[in-house]
Symmetry: C2
Subunit: 404 residues, 2 copies
C-alpha cells in the first residue's frame, strides 16, 4: 500500500522593507507591502514532513522540534490546513482516481535547524515549510504565489518564504485578502553576491511579541499612517529598482532607512516598544562608520544593517566586502560561540578598514565577550525544497523520529 507523505524544507527571510501592522488581524492582511531577501537553506531552514493516512486516529497532529503542539480549532495552523484540504478536494473532484486524502487525518512533524534561543523568527520558515510539505503531499496545482495566500494566514511574513531570491509581499486591496500575496522580484541567481551576516545579540529581557506589538503601533502611533501611506510605497518602488539594477548603494540605503523607520514607529507606540538595545546601537554605529569612511574615500557603501522585532542585527553586504565585515564585527564584538565561518572569511588576508575609519564610534576595547553571542554567515538562497522520503521526520507509525 502506498505511503502518502512529503517532506519539504523552507528558508528564513529577512525583510529590507518591513511589515509592521495588520489591517485585518484574522486574515493577516498588512497595512503596507514589504520586501525581503530569502536566506540560504544551507544554513538556516525549517523542515516539515506530512503524511495523510485513512487509518490514523481522528484529528490532525503536529510536532515542532519533537514536541507535540495542539492544533487549536480556528487557530492559524488549523486555518492553513483547512485551506489546503479545500484545494485537495478540488483535485479529488476533478479526478475520481485520486485518493481521498482530504478526508484523512494528517501527521506533521517540523524541525528548525537553528535554536529558538538564537532569537531568529522561526514562524516564517516553519509555516512556509508546512504549506510546502502539505501542498506537495496533496499534489496541489497551485503556484507558489497562490500557496503564499495560505502561508500568509499562518504567519504573515511566512508568505515571503515560499520563494527564493528577492521577494515582495504585495499588500493587496481586497477585503478577502485574495490579492495579498508574495511574488518573486528576482531569483537568487540575479544577485548571488548578496551575503548576510546575522549577529545574535544577547538580551536580558524578552521583548514585546511582534503580533501584539504591531497592533499596539496601529492603535496608538501618530506616525505609522504616514509611514504606511507615503513612505513605504515609494521605498518599495525604489528597492525593486535597486535590486533590478544590482545597485548595492541604493539597496543598502533603503534597507537601513526602513529598519530605522520601523523602529521609529515602535518607539512612537504607546507605551513605547524598544527592540534595539545598546549592543544593537553599537553595531549600527560600526556599520554607519564603515560606510561613512568608505564614501569619504570615494567608494560605495560597504554594508547595510537591518533589525527585526529583536536586538539581533542582520548585515547585508556583497561577498567581496564580507571579510571586512566579519573581521570588524569580530574585533568589536567577540563572541562566546566559535564562528563556523562557512565561507572561510577568517582565512583572508587582513582586511583594512577604509582609511579615516574612526574607532571611537565603539566604546574603547570593544564590547565584553558574548554581547554578540554568535555569528551566522549565509547568502541569498532558494525557495522551498522537496526532499526525499529518506529525510522524512516521521516514523512508520506517523510520529516524529527521534533525531540524533
Amino acid at each position: 500500500m502506498a505511503l502518502y507523505q512529503a517532506t519539504a524544507s523552507a528558508p528564513v527571510n529577512i525583510a529590507c522593507i518591513k511589515y509592521w501592522g495588520k489591517r485585518d488581524t484574522a486574515l493577516i492582511l498588512p497595512t503596507n507591502s514589504s520586501l525581503s531577501v530569502t536566506l540560504s537553506q544551507d544554513h538556516l531552514r525549517s523542515t516539515t514532513s506530512s503524511r495523510a493516512d485513512a487509518s490514523f486516529a481522528q484529528g490532525d497532529r503536529l510536532w515542532l522540534n519533537g514536541k507535540e503542539e495542539e492544533i487549536k480549532a480556528g487557530g492559524r495552523t488549523a486555518t492553513c490546513l483547512a485551506a489546503l484540504r479545500k484545494w485537495r478536494k478540488e483535485v479529488e473532484e476533478g479526478d475520481a482516481s485520486e485518493p481521498k486524502m482530504s478526508e484523512w487525518p494528517l501527521r506533521i512533524a517540523s524541525y528548525n535547524n537553528f535554536p529558538t534561543a538564537a532569537g531568529l523568527a522561526s514562524s516564517a520558515s516553519g509555516l512556509a515549510a508546512l504549506v510546502a510539505s502539505v501542498s506537495q503531499l496533496y499534489q496541489l496545482p497551485q503556484t507558489p504565489s497562490e500557496l503564499s495566500l495560505i502561508a500568509r494566514q499562518g504567519s504573515g511574513s511566512a508568505c515571503r518564504s515560499l520563494f527564493g531570491g528577492f521577494v515582495a509581499w504585495r499588500m493587496g486591496a481586497r477585503d478577502d485578502g485574495a490579492d495579498s500575496l508574495a511574488v518573486q522580484v528576482a531569483p537568487r541567481e540575479h544577485w548571488p553576491e548578496m551575503h548576510a551576516l546575522i549577529c545574535v545579540v544577547s538580551d536580558a529581557k524578552k521583548g514585546t511579541s511582534s503580533t501584539s506589538g504591531m497592533q499596539k503601533t496601529v492603535a496608538t502611533s501618530t506616525l505609522l499612517q504616514h509611514r504606511i501611506k507615503h513612505v513605504v510605497p515609494q521605498r518599495m518602488d525604489e528597492i525593486e529598482r535597486a535590486i533590478a539594477e544590482r545597485d548595492f548603494d541604493a539597496f543598502a540605503k533603503l534597507t537601513m532607512r526602513d529598519s530605522n523607520s520601523f523602529h521609529a514607529v515602535c518607539l512612537d507606540t504607546e507605551p513605547p516598544i524598544f527592540y534595539l538595545n545598546d549592543v544593537s546601537r553599537a553595531i549600527i554605529a560600526v556599520v554607519e562608520e564603515l560606510n561613512r569612511a568608505s564614501v569619504a574615500q570615494g567608494n560605495g557603501l560597504v554594508a547595510a544593517y537591518t533589525f527585526d522585532a529583536g536586538p539581533n542585527a542582520v548585515i547585508y553586504t556583497l561577498e567581496a566586502n564580507m571579510p571586512l565585515i566579519v573581521n570588524t564585527i569580530n574585533e568589536y564584538f567577540p563572541q562566546t560561540q566559535a564562528f563556523p565561518d562557512p565561507f572561510k572569511m577568517l582565512d583572508k588576508a587582513h582586511i583594512a578598514k577604509p582609511e579615516g575609519f574612526n574607532p571611537a564610534v565603539v566604546r574603547e576595547g570593544g564590547w565584553e565577550k558574548g554581547a554578540v553571542s554568535r555569528l551566522i554567515h549565509t547568502t541569498v538562497g532558494d525557495g522551498p525544497r522537496r526532499l526525499g522520503d529518506e529525510e522524512s521526520l516521521l516514523n512508520e507509525s506517523g510520529e516524529p523520529k527521534t533525531l540524533a
Copy 2:
C-alpha cells in the same frame, strides 16, 4: 561715579512638547511650537552679571564659569548683544539724560550652579540669564516676550527660560522671526504641585549635539514633516488645555508621547540619532509599569518621563506622588552621589507601589550602582530674578570674581 551693572539669574526649562528642527538656522526659527515647564532656580540656575563702562578697553568680554569665551563676530552671543544695544540706543534717544551705555564695552560673567558633566542643557538658562542681566543693566522697557525674541537667537529654547511656570514658544509665521516668541501659558502658582525628578544617566559616548542633530533630522527624516504639521499642533492645544485644567493624566500622556515622538524622528534620521540608552529605556519601563499598575487599580497616572537630546530622564509628577517615584528609582537605580533630598522624600513612610506592579520590567536586582549617577529633585519655578549687587560675579576691575 555710578557703577552700571546688573546681576540676574535664570532657570532651566524642560520641554514637554519638544523643539526639534529649525526652518531658519540663522534666526533660529523652529519648525514647530513647543512647550516647557520652568524648573526652580532654588536648585538649578544660571547667574549672569553684566557691566557697561566707558573706561573698559574696547571690545566686549565674556566669562563662563570663570573661563573667558571668545565673542565671535556674527556669532550668537554677538547677535544677542547687538540686539540689546539697539534697544538701549532707543532708550538713550528718547531721553538725553540717559548714559550712553550702548556705546560702552561690556563685561559679562556667567555661572551655572550645576556641573556641565551632569549633561543638563545649560545654554537655555545661560542665554536667558545673559539677556535678563543686560536688559536690566540697560533698563529696557521691553516685555519678557519681546526679550525672548533675542534669547531665541542665542539658543532656541532659551526663549522659554524668560518666564516661570508653563511656557509656550509660538513658532510664528513671519520670515523675520518677529512673531517667534515665548509666552507664559500659566504661572507656577497655577500648579505648584508639579514636581520634577532629574535622573542623571551615565553615558560612555558623547551624543550628537542638538544643533547638528536637528538639522540632520530636518534634511533626512521622512516622518518629521508629519510630526511638525499634524502631530505637534494638536498636542500643543491639548497640553495647554491639560495645564489650564490641571489635568495630570492628560499632561503626562502628552508629555510621554511627545518625548517618544521626538526620539522616533531622531531614529528616523540618516544616519540614525540615538539619545536613549539601555538605562533610559529601563527608566521608561519603570514609569510605564507604575502607571499601568496604578490605572489597573482605578487610579490615575503617577508620573511622566521626558528625555531631551541625551540619556537623562526628567520625571514629572505631582508632589503627592514624588515619594513613590524617588523610592522606586532609588530601588532600581542606586546612585554614586548621595541624593540631597531637599523635600525630605526619603523621610516619608515607605510608599507602596501600586498593587500588581510587575518588578520584572527591570532587570533582576536593578542596575549597577552609578548607572544613574545622581538625582535632582525640583519643582516648577519662577522666571528670571533680579539679584543685588552683592551677588555680582564681577570684581572691581570688571573681571570675574574667584568663586569659593
